[in-house]
């Protein structure tokens, strides 16, 4: 009879500082952070709905793997999309946020993670990061992601990068357009401006996204249903939002 032995399985993030731990994906179980995140997302959604006139057009599909792809021009964008979803869907969303902006210091990392359900995406080494996600996606549990294919609030045109990786990995793409957030919390402003109208439009889910020209279709959807501050004619393909302080 073999002798039963203790088998230890330390968590892989023991040596990571708090900001890095908050940014990791897949997340490690954490009773305190998981509870705080559950409270935080409800709090943020309620606060947003109380402060803004909120319009939601369309609905998210009930599918296990969904990649929400939205235009991005404000810090309010993530909170607005989360607030537009029912709690059942909201809890399964993971938001990809810039590591260099949100996950290098504990305070912004806590805010992004607890209120916005964000994890870190490394824009600095994008190719290596895309390879990492391409290896990771087939191994993880079903889930929803929210990404901003433009990669920055100051850029309008979507990049193929992570959007393409998700599409090729079998995620259903949900085109999502935001209007009003750029005026409600413009780039360069320290505080938001309450009592404005914010509209979130969910498009038709694209289940065979790998077969589509995602950047072109997303931009067309955003131009039709969202409000792209600084955008000229679609065929002009503006790349940068006019400079703001």
């Amino acid at each position: 009879m073999s002798e039963p032995r203790f088998e230890y399985e330390p968590f892989p993030d023991l040596d990571l500082p708090l900001a890095a731990r908050l940014g990791q994906y897949p997340r490690q179980p954490d009773l305190l952070l998981d509870t705080a995140r559950a409270l935080g997302r409800r709090l943020a959604a309620t606060a947003l709905r109380l402060q803004f006139r909120f319009e939601v057009v369309g609905a998210a599909p009930d599918l296990p793997r969904v990649a929400i792809m939205a235009n991005h021009q404000s810090h309010l964008d993530t909170l607005a999309i989360l607030a537009a979803l029912p709690e059942r869907d909201r809890r399964r969303v993971t938001v990809l946020a810039a590591r260099d902006y949100f996950f290098e210091r504990p305070a912004p990392a806590l805010l992004a993670n607890l209120l916005g359900q964000a994890v870190a995406f490394d824009r600095g080494s994008e190719l290596a990061e895309l390879h990492r996600w391409a290896r990771l996606l087939p191994t993880i549990e079903p889930g929803w992601f929210l990404i901003y294919p433009s990669g920055s609030r100051k850029r309008l045109v979507p990049q193929a990068g992570l959007a393409g990786v998700l599409a090729r990995s079998g995620w259903t793409v949900l085109p999502t357009a935001l209007a009003g957030t750029a005026e409600a919390w413009p780039i360069g402003h320290a505080l938001w401006r309450p009592f404005r109208t914010v509209r979130v439009t969910f498009g038709e889910p694209i289940t065979d996204a790998a077969e589509h020209d995602l950047p072109r279709e997303l931009l067309a959807f955003w131009a039709e249903h969202g409000h792209l501050v600084g955008a000229g004619a679609l065929d002009g393909r503006p790349t940068e939002v006019p400079h703001e302080p």
Partner: protein
């Protein structure tokens, strides 16, 4: 309390909190100066961490027993979390929640001075944990998680809660401050002596432990205990003072090695990274897990001074 009252040397010996706070401030200033002169590489990071630990710990004591107990409870919960993450126990949520409950309850009854309940909580904790495999209807790995959960609840709950319990000693805060500061000093001295003159390692559990470091630290701690005796141990005979010093230096090493054993088995270097230059909270608390209960019960049994 104004600054003149704090610095009034005439009444200093009757107020251990004031005495030890001033002594700590002086020690920190002298150590900082020494490090600035000697330019020892790698010494600044742990010292900077002490600049945070000491004001938090002493500040909580100045605020009163409630603040101190709250600090001990919160730090114990967070340190247990480290232990659970190192061993993998953290994946067993029910055991973890029971251990958290034990830690909080243990400190609550230490604060209330209810010795009877304080001593009974470990029994109820083990009984509650025995129910987990039955409730979950699982056997696989359960003996391991049950054992690890009990060790965790005892070390991080029952043992560390003696720090809360010591605050209520009828002899004042001298006992608590003595245990807290001398245990930390014992750790530092073992390391410093070991680095300076240590040649002979004496345990595979911790490669930093040397015969020379341990003996010299022990001698220094016992010497310092006798120096503090008139303030901390009034009325305690010299052999009692010797016992107090030995509890700190031997108990500190036992606690250190016990948690080193956990780390070696799990294959990790530190319990975490929350205290730069030190590791995790457990890496700073491990010695206190033994010295606090050993001191409280041995000195309490021999010389009294605790509510019971």
């Amino acid at each position: 309390m104004d600054i003149d009252a704090i610095l009034d040397l005439g009444t200093l010996s009757s107020d251990p909190l004031r005495l030890y706070t001033l002594a700590t401030v002086v020690t920190v200033i002298v150590t900082t100066g020494l490090l600035a002169v000697l330019r020892l590489p790698g010494a600044w990071i742990p010292l900077r961490t002490w600049f945070v630990i000491l004001p938090v710990a002493l500040g909580a004591m100045w605020l009163g027993q409630g603040a101190w107990t709250l600090l001990v409870a919160v730090v114990s919960v967070l340190a247990f979390k480290e232990y659970a993450r190192v061993t993998g126990l953290y994946r067993e949520t029910l055991f973890v929640l029971l251990a958290y409950g034990a830690i909080i309850t243990q400190n609550l009854f230490a604060y209330l001075g209810r010795y009877d309940v304080f001593m009974a909580i470990p029994t109820w904790t083990v009984l509650a944990m025995a129910l987990v495999p039955i409730v979950l209807r699982r056997t696989e790995g359960m003996l391991q998680w049950f054992a690890l959960a009990i060790v965790g609840a005892i070390f991080y709950g029952y043992f560390l809660a003696h720090l809360s319990y010591l605050y209520g000693s009828s002899t004042g805060l001298g006992y608590l401050l003595f245990v807290l500061l001398m245990t930390q000093l014992n750790d530092a001295l073992q390391f410093i002596y070991g680095k300076a003159v240590g040649r002979h390692r004496w345990t595979p559990l911790s490669p930093n432990k040397t015969v020379e470091g341990s003996l010299l630290a022990g001698a220094t701690i016992v010497g310092l205990t006798f120096l503090q005796a008139p303030i901390v141990f009034p009325g305690v005979p010299p052999w009692g003072v010797l016992v107090a010093g030995l509890i700190i230096t031997i108990g500190g090493q036992v606690g250190d090695l016990t948690m080193a054993n956990v780390k070696r088995n799990a294959g990790v270097k530190d319990f975490g990274a929350v205290l730069p230059g030190h590791g995790g909270l457990t890496d700073r608390l491990n010695s206190l897990m033994i010295t606090a209960p050993a001191f409280a019960h041995i000195m309490g049994y021999l010389f009294g001074g605790f509510p019971s």
